[in-house]
């Protein structure tokens, strides 16, 4: 187990390093002069002149070679310093620290929504296999996974916020304001999780030991709880881990629509403003979150699955 853990953590560190390097160079070889973009963004077109350009280059160390800048960036990144945002003129880590709790709040709520809806839906669907409920739930899954989330968001705003006035249109001023964004964000996850839960249940239900349990004369409820659910849930845990990744990606789009003050909105703004340090910071934070969640999920999965615990190797 310890061996497995160490290997997984080393892998995460390696991946994060590659992600950051890749992002750094991708963003830094962007065509167009950074200094011009910064001046334009902060002070408008009139501020772009030779003197100001020189001053900006000086301030953000843009005169150095890309490699030197990269070395500097890596060194600082280790101390949690991702540079200064061109757009906000504040440290990137400060801005992200300000916004991250909001994204977490939104993501966790969306996750809870989706688990509460998807798991029961998948379980009942499998138990009612090929009956009316199953068909309806499958159609529901197919349809929800086909609608673009940003469009669902707009429709929810039009119907629930503008017409029925049940929830606020955007922002996060009241506790109710989290409902619409979280619901939208959870939809994509609901579809996949329901599908997987159903498949996992069906898989277990076709096993011989379920026949044995039936033959022993156990009650239906006992079979469902003790034998089917107990074996059908573990594979879903790794699916849930991957789904959280989708939540992180989805948050980028959804936060934008609902003006939710999270990292996603910050990221899109940074892209539009060519705010390089901010883009790198956001990508790294999202990648870190994604990697950390999957690491935790893998550990939980290993802890409940002796096959992995003892072989020291993940079997997917």
């Amino acid at each position: 187990m310890t061996k497995y853990l160490i290997r997984r953590i080393l892998m995460v560190v390696g991946v994060l390093w590659m992600v950051s390097t890749l992002t750094y160079f991708t963003v830094h070889v962007t065509p167009g002069d950074t200094a011009t973009a910064v001046l334009y963004e902060l002070y408008g077109e009139d501020a772009v002149n030779t003197e100001n350009l020189e001053r900006v280059r000086e301030k953000y160390d843009l005169n150095e070679s890309v490699f030197k800048q990269y070395a500097e960036w890596v060194k600082n990144a280790f101390t949690g310093n991702f540079g200064t945002s061109y757009r906000y003129n504040k440290p990137v880590s400060y801005m992200i620290g300000l916004r991250l709790p909001n994204t977490l709040k939104l993501g966790i709520t969306a996750f809870i929504f989706s688990v509460l809806i998807a798991i029961p839906l998948g379980v009942i669907s499998a138990l009612q296999h090929n009956k009316l409920f199953d068909h309806i739930s499958r159609i529901f899954v197919l349809i929800t996974s086909s609608f673009p989330a940003f469009w669902v968001a707009i429709v929810l705003i039009i119907v629930c916020a503008l017409k029925l006035k049940l929830f606020p249109v955007s922002g996060m001023d009241s506790p109710q304001s989290i409902v619409l964004p979280a619901l939208t964000l959870s939809l994509g996850m609901i579809a996949t999780t329901t599908r997987m839960m159903r498949a996992s249940m069906l898989d277990v239900m076709s096993q011989d030991y379920i026949w044995v349990a039936k033959a022993k004369g156990l009650t239906r409820n006992k079979i469902i709880v003790r034998h089917i659910l107990r074996n059908a849930i573990p594979p879903i845990i790794s699916v849930l881990g991957l789904q959280i990744g989708h939540i992180l990606g989805g948050a980028v789009v959804i936060e934008n629509i609902f003006s939710w003050p999270g990292v996603g909105g910050l990221f899109i703004d940074a892209i539009n403003a060519k705010d390089m340090p901010m883009i790198e910071g956001c990508v790294l934070v999202i990648a870190f979150g994604y990697a950390a969640i999957n690491l935790v999920v893998d550990i939980i999965y290993a802890a409940i699955n002796p096959e992995i615990r003892y072989s020291g190797e993940a079997k997917k």
Partner: protein, 278 residues
């Protein structure tokens, strides 16, 4: 036989919906009721009615006509993106699986990195580098999407690599290129086809999201994502402007999702197995 037919109903519906979509895209110029680019400010924000079935937008353009023409953009981009990424991914996957060693390690580590964070985040970061526009959107999607194919193709190749018929091919003196081209590729392709059909729906949604965020086609292009993004501004008093293109996106994603699900059930023997034991 009858049972199989009923099981495949999803496939048939998928085929019909996809056919409708493709027909609309091909026949677009002939079936558009109005010129989708013609602006007529006096006609702006007309509610859906007999003359304009889906209403008009903020510039007085007919929404139905724009959606019909937009189907071309959506289909062209997603189909091109998927074939390019499938091609690149399959090739790299086969090479990685067949050669093994250092090549395999390098390619697979790249795949790991790409899979280390949400695809849309990477596509967005790439778009800063590439700039806005439809072609760049396509490149960004290919850069993200090929990894799925590489993984599957590699797995399949490793499975077939040491099978007897490939050993035989090697024994009669085929070169590596020949073996890959004539023996490995045909063995891998069926899984890839299934994956392609399952992915098109997702890619349509990706393209739409990225255009919605302003990274793909630019206004006044009748791209569906762009139309929703424009319509968003007027959702208070003209909700139909944003709603209609979303239904078009969902329709095409649904069509391909059903086609993909149906094809997988039909072609993937492992899936068929589970269906039988159910």
């Amino acid at each position: 036989m009858k049972r199989v037919n009923r099981k495949n109903i999803i496939l048939y519906v998928g085929i019909v919906l996809t056919a409708i979509l493709v027909a609309v895209a091909i026949l677009a110029p002939y079936i558009m009721p109005y010129d989708p680019t013609k602006m007529e400010i006096s006609q702006k924000f007309i509610k859906p009615c007999a003359a304009h079935i889906l209403g008009t937008d903020h510039l007085g353009r007919d929404i139905l006509s724009r959606i019909i023409l937009g189907s071309r953009i959506s289909l062209m981009t997603s189909v091109t993106a998927i074939f390019i990424s499938a091609f690149i991914g399959t090739m790299l996957g086969i090479i990685s699986g067949y050669l093994g060693g250092a090549v395999d390690t390098i390619i697979m580590r790249i795949v790991d990195v790409m899979l280390a964070f949400p695809a849309i985040v990477f596509a967005l970061a790439l778009s800063t580098f590439l700039g806005k526009g439809q072609t760049n959107l396509l490149i960004a999607i290919c850069c993200v999407q090929w990894t799925r194919y590489a993984r599957v193709a590699r797995g399949e190749t490793i499975m077939f690599r040491d099978s007897e018929y490939i050993q035989a091919a090697r024994a009669i003196g085929n070169s590596k290129t020949q073996i890959i081209k004539n023996y490995v590729f045909p063995a891998v392709i069926s899984k890839i086809v299934i994956l392609i059909s399952l992915d098109i729906g997702t890619i349509i949604l990706y393209c739409a999201s990225l255009s919605f965020l302003g990274l793909g086609a630019q206004p006044p292009s009748p791209d569906w994502g762009v139309m929703i993004s424009e319509g968003k501004e007027y959702m208070q008093y003209a909700p139909w402007v944003a709603i209609a293109p979303g239904i078009a996106i969902a329709f095409s994603a649904l069509a391909f999702n059903m086609l993909g699900d149906g094809l997988r059930d039909l072609l993937d023997p492992r899936m068929k197995e589970t269906v039988r034991t159910e």
